[in-house]
């Protein structure tokens, strides 16, 4: 009974808690990749080392996150990027920034995921410059929203907790069933 109470207390104390897991969020804001590294449910990953990689894994630049876990990286070409962060204590996280997020005016890089996109003109014409300004404004507006969705994905849901507990009891129930069918050795 006491044990049952103990279990119940632990389960209740765990209500919608969050995972201790490093996450990195990155998005393009004009020709800059902005993002944050944070522990899902915990604090920001301050002063962690990070790397900006090309899609094929070559390291383009290294950086450190600031006190808010944030970083800003200027990029020179329009291609797929990967951002990897390492908090030093065994947590790593990686995310992607697709070429399609970056402005059309940047020169096309290798490994772009949008080969069907119209070939960029060498110099930004007034038309593309205007598009870039709009795209940048929209990107800045929806950034907090995207960050929120990203964090929401990591929420530990009550249904997940119950599914896990149910599966554990089920697994050991099957064990018990098999063990009970075996003839008992005295």
């Amino acid at each position: 009974m006491k044990r049952l109470l103990l279990t119940a207390a632990l389960v209740l104390a765990a209500s919608p808690a969050l995972a201790h897991k490093l996450k990195v969020f990155a998005a393009a804001e004009g020709a800059t990749i902005v993002g944050t590294a944070y522990f899902a449910g915990g604090g920001k990953a301050q002063n962690s080392t990070g790397r900006l990689l090309a899609a094929d894994g070559t390291v383009l630049t290294e950086f450190r996150t600031d006190a808010q876990g944030g970083f800003r990286l200027d990029v020179a070409s329009r291609q797929d990027y990967r951002v990897a962060v390492d908090s030093g204590d065994g947590h790593v996280a990686e995310t992607r920034v697709a070429a399609s997020e970056l402005p059309l005016s940047l020169p096309m890089g290798e490994g772009s995921s949008t080969p069907s996109a119209p070939a960029p003109v060498a110099a930004p014409t007034p038309a593309t410059a205007g598009t870039d300004a709009i795209e940048m404004a929209v990107a800045r507006q929806i950034l907090p929203l995207r960050q929120q969705i990203d964090a929401l994905e990591e929420r530990t849901r009550f249904s997940d907790i119950m599914a896990g507990i149910g599966t554990i009891f089920g697994v050991f129930g099957i064990f018990a069933w098999i063990a009970a069918r075996r003839p008992r050795t005295p």
């Binding site: 006491k2 044990r3 103990l6 279990t7 632990l10 389960v11 104390a13 765990a14 808690a17 969050l18 995972a19 201790h20 897991k21 490093l22 522990f39 449910g41 915990g42 604090g43 920001k44 990953a45 301050q46 908090s87 030093g88 204590d89 065994g90 947590h91 790593v92 996280a93 990591e154 530990t156 997940d160 907790i161 599914a163 896990g164 507990i165 599966t167 554990i168 009891f169 697994v171 050991f172 129930g173 064990f175 018990a176 063990a179 009970a180």
Partner: protein
């Protein structure tokens, strides 16, 4: 803190973790008798949930591990209990990776079994104070050993020892304190009201 994600440790560490875990799992499964199965299942579920309780600790947050008390109550059977819970944490919450499951199970399960062996050898039914102190030592000790093994797994994978040790050990201290107090209280209670639980198996 104790859950290593995929892509951090190198292949030799992965293999060592998998081999050690397979061995301990084999021994642990032999301790799984039908009579003890419900207890193993309950504590496995407690371990599964305990990782969701977060304590703020400086820049990061840490969570309980509870491997000391699992070892004390379950003995060898603590290993399969921890392995099943870790598998589900990886699948449902993304806590730790699937490929490194062996390493994570080794880092948390081996201290559990060792704490259990020490506790069962030294506790006395008629000495409640000694039992509580022993519980504190096992609870805190298991976390400390997990921390050391975690640091070693990372160092063996080519991380710089000093950085890893600082970060990992610093965040582990509050967990050790909380777990020592919790394990002492829980085992003290069990030793008083249901001592046979700590004797069988």
């Amino acid at each position: 803190m104790a859950h290593i994600p995929d892509g951090v440790v190198t292949v030799p560490v992965l293999v060592a973790g998998a081999v050690a875990s397979a061995g301990f799992l084999g021994l642990g499964l032999r301790a799984l008798t039908p009579e003890r199965m419900p207890r193993v299942a309950v504590l496995s579920a407690v371990f599964f949930v305990a990782s969701l309780i977060h304590l703020p600790a400086g820049p990061a947050s840490v969570h309980l591990i509870l491997n000391g008390i699992m070892g004390a109550v379950l003995g060898w059977a603590a290993f399969p209990a921890i392995l099943v819970a870790l598998l589900l944490q990886a699948v449902l919450f993304g806590f730790g990776g699937l490929v490194v499951l062996g390493v994570n199970a080794m880092n948390m399960g081996v201290p559990a079994v060792l704490a259990g062996l020490v506790f069962r050898a030294l506790w006395r039914r008629d000495r409640p104070r000694r039992t509580a102190l022993l519980g504190a030592a096992c609870g805190g000790g298991a976390v400390a050993l997990t921390t050391v093994m975690l640091s070693l797994s990372l160092v063996a994978s080519g991380r710089e020892f000093l950085t890893v040790a600082q970060l990992v050990v610093l965040t582990a201290v509050p967990v050790m304190v909380v777990e020592a107090a919790f394990t002492a209280a829980a085992l003290g209670l069990v030793a008083r009201v249901k001592p046979e639980m700590l004797e069988e198996g």
